[in-house]
Amino acid sequence: MDLTFSEEQDELRKVVRSFLSKYSDEATVRRLAADPRGHDRVVWRRMAGELGLQGLAVPEEYGGTGFGYVDLGIVFEEAGRALLCGPYFATVALAAEALQRCDDEQARRDLLPGIASGETVATLALTEDDGRWDEPGIRLTARETAAGWHLTGTKTYVPDGHLADLLLVAARTPTGVSLFAVAADASGLVRTPLPTLDQTRKQARLDFTDTPARLLGTEGTAWPALERTLATASVLLAAEQVGGAAAALEAAVDYARIRVQYGRPIGSFQGIKHKCADMLVEIESARSAAYGGLWALDSGDATEIAVAAALAQAFCSEAFTKVAAGTIQVHGGIGFTWEHPAHLYFKRAKSSEVLLGGPSYHRELLATRLGI
């Protein structure tokens, strides 16, 4: 059991942090937030080419480097700190994971190398109009004809769905839930970007009309693989949330050290100091929740993963929101301005909170998984 980071992992963190400080600095984040596409292909290629970030946890046989989830979690934590804009979560935490989980060797061989090399931006289209992340929420239908499978229906709130080259779509067939691959330029597919409260993570609506699709794995058996994919994504999102929260607190603390009121730095007042301390308690607890999830993922124990993942989202999503809101409070009026980065973290926190179903949903998942 490895409950602490190795020197190599410390090094990985350093490298990623320094890369992101250059390519995901505040100016870049603001530029991409304002850009409807919200994504810089050049940086994306660099992430893959120079650092291998997209293929970090993809096995070597599919073009990745085969590192573990703890390593991947480090990258997500750093991405969260830097508010990285672009389809990293959609591609790596959702799509690459779904491909690895679905029982389709050929699809893995065909599709994973493109993701690992940075050629392919991908996402998972699961939610529909009611925004549900569970099995009954999947109603879009797939029909098999002589010419192959076709999808009809709507997916929405799809992370980076407007710019993905490859869409993995959960759909219903007469035998149950199945997973399909759809090319971005497939016929009968209309993609509409959705204007989002959190401009740092884009979403899209996807309308399918008899859109040709490739069935992945065996028809009707995709839900367990999707459930596991969502568990993995929950943990990686939790790591991202921890990183975001830590960066927000750092900003609050830096400000509390220099801002003077009543002749003293505000950080010397207990009202502010204790608030910051409570935020750190929240963050360290969230870290435990997220890291516990990463260790569970690396252990491969399915029961443990299911529990740890639900716990991670139930806790970390709220922790990030609390800390991000606290950061605005510590900053006073300036924290309420568009110019100050605090709101970027706050909005990312709020959007991440509901991204995979929300804390109440995950509490309920946890309760069910524990038999409560």
Binding site: T4, K273, A277, V281, S285, R287, S288
Partner: protein, 392 residues
Amino acid sequence: MELDFGPAVRDFRDEVRDWLADHLVGEFADHRGVGGPTDGAAWEVRLAWDRELSAGGWLGVSWPREYGGRGLGLLEEIVFEYEYARADAPYRATVNALDLLGPMLLKMGGEEQKKRFLPPILAVEELWGQGFSEPGAGSDLASVRTRAEREGEEWVVNGQKVWTSFGVHADWLYVLTRTDPDSVRHKGLSLLLVPTDQPGVEIRPIRNLAGQDEFAEVFLSDARTGADMVVGEVGQGWRTAMATLGIERGTTLLPQQLTFEREAEALIDLARERGALDDPMLRRRIVDAWISVRIMRTTNLRTLAELTAGRTPGAQATTAKLYASTRHQQLGHLAMELAGPAGQIVGEDYGLDTRQRSFLLSLAETIYGGSSEIQRNIIGEQILGLPKEPRP
């Protein structure tokens, strides 16, 4: 969940398990889970249990052999603690000496002191109390006024200590004193070891809110101890005391967390019995209680992993106490709410059941070892680097 510490310690773990299975029987088994860092319940039985542990060679697993320990590593110590808590053995009565004074002496004591005091601790022959707090010095420990003056080969000690846990049982006290009468604050303090069996020491029990005589006040009037009974250097008592507090905040957490886990399980059982699981608000709080104890566990494991890897523990080692103490209190409130009116009825002579005792005693967890407010100051100033409180 099982904890796997790897093949190296698996045999050791089995040895601990077997021993506990063989010895945690009879009266000892009847007192499973009894006690806590501030719980004096079933004292005599627990003392007998400590002697049983001592005879089995389980006290001081990681202490050097020359002082009566087993000379094993930190990992074995942790495995032992873990298995111990898993077996729900009675809380050790001699924890003050074993977990606080012992490690402090190992770290800062002189060779003679180690030889003199460590073996009797492991043999459960001498019990210890911590004499830091005073009526005028609690959170503000640097305002200690108890004085010690050198008289030939002895120190003469005068003053009053308070809240000394298990003080009435103590054969010895480790006392924070002012040895330089002209000094202020944390300068000029010394840590002295003082025997209680003498006319100058009077110890009176203080009843706590659970109705137990678990802590005490201590009056020192010309109490005497040897010149060689200073731990560390004369005038350096602040450092010694702070080191002990650091140990206190760290070591109690692992066994406590396992107790909390059992309480959370019991809470879920109770909720199931009461049909409370269908109430969405209660359900949410129950899940949150479970999440809290699981997070405590992971946090402790992170710290232990860093320690065993020879790394300096991160911020979580400091935030853990504040988190655990506040979350445990929430768990207690919820348990009492689920227990309903029946939970409000006590036994004869204010006899409390485990749930009631744990609930009431949890109120001390945000006070002792540095209150929550002081923890927040420490986190803010020492970890986050915020400016210090203005001090006179």
